[in-house]
Symmetry: C2
Subunit: 178 residues, 2 copies
DNA sequence: ATGATATTTGAACGATCGTTACACTCTGGA
DNA sequence: TCCAGAGTGTAACGATCGTTCAAATATCAT
């Protein structure tokens, strides 16, 4: 159910995700929706954000933090991200929220997601031998590049552009020069 | 007037930009709005997109194409972009549209904007000595990085992060290795 | 089988959506 | 001075918004 909800918010944004559209997509009537999410639409969006955050914690952030082979883990991150965002065919819900005034409503969730992503990646890079400042710079650049790649791939309707970008970003993240 | 309209669409997205909010921001009544934009909201958004596109053509794309000193022009592009987007305090309307289903409505305008930006920047880079493939790769990376920097700066509510990103992107765009 | 609880249905609420229509004021040329 | 057209203000339209609610149904331990 949450994945279906997420799809509606991803496609239409917070304001565009109407209860009607949510009903159409999920099949749940209004009563059921408000039974599971007494807080209404804001509650639904918060649940979706939490689910997305949980997925990234489990499949992206924690592996980066716990990795024995940091470079391997970083490579796997790019693979997982490419699959998750379907080469730009799927939007990052958190990034999309960040660009509208939904950010004001979910500021903590949005900020925390990216802060923890950058931190986890920077930790892995330090583990791979990068200096503190270099690790943070590379991590910021990589996360920001992924978000930008989604924007450009969607704008140009060109998934190959997304994959090219992932290749370049991965390359310069793993092979850095101080 | 168009700049005020643009602000509403930037803050709230296409769906969230209601006629009431547009009235509040611009001061124009419904009658006036539909007098200037007979096509209604879609007409307004199209006009705003055209104005944004025109601004970038004049201040970003054309200088890149016409530059005698390509490296200087590229440096000026980053300065202009940092000012225009107010270090991430202001959203890229085209990028924001790309992430919602407004893209389906304005696909040509959205796609054209980024395609011409990348082309103009790649032309300047070729003019500065880069190979064809290197120029396109660097141009894609730079434009995508700018979009990503907006997302991250807004998410973290951290304009310094935007400016750090601009520094790094500019550096690796101007000093490349084949 | 019974009763308590969980879930669902669908009508309805007031508010707001985008849009239209019409009367009104303003403006500049004849 | 007058008129045509540009621009404005406002009421109202049907549609849809997010939300509420009471009644109906499903589920399940006892």
């Amino acid at each position: 159910m949450i994945p279906l909800l997420a799809e509606v918010f991803r496609e239409h944004g917070y304001e565009g995700a109407t209860i009607s559209r949510i009903h159409d997509k999920t099949g749940f009537g209004r009563g059921s929706l408000y039974h599971f999410f007494p807080g209404g639409k804001e509650d639904m969006a918060a649940a979706v954000l939490a689910e997305v955050d949980g997925w990234f914690e489990q499949h992206i952030f924690e592996p980066l933090r716990q990795a024995d082979d940091a470079e391997l883990a970083i490579g796997q991150m790019f693979d997982a991200v490419t699959t998750y965002f379907r080469s730009g065919g799927r939007v990052c819900l958190v990034g999309a929220f960040a660009l509208t005034d939904a950010r004001n409503r979910f500021g903590a969730a949005v900020g925390g997601y990216f802060a923890r992503w950058i931190e986890a990646l920077a930790l892995a890079l330090r583990h791979a031998g990068a200096s503190d400042s270099m690790a943070v710079a590379l991590a910021e650049d990589a996360v920001l590049g992924i978000q930008g790649a989604i924007v450009i791939a969607r704008s140009l309707d060109d998934r190959a552009a997304f994959e090219r970008a992932m290749q370049r970003i991965q390359a310069r993240t793993l092979v850095w020069k101080e």
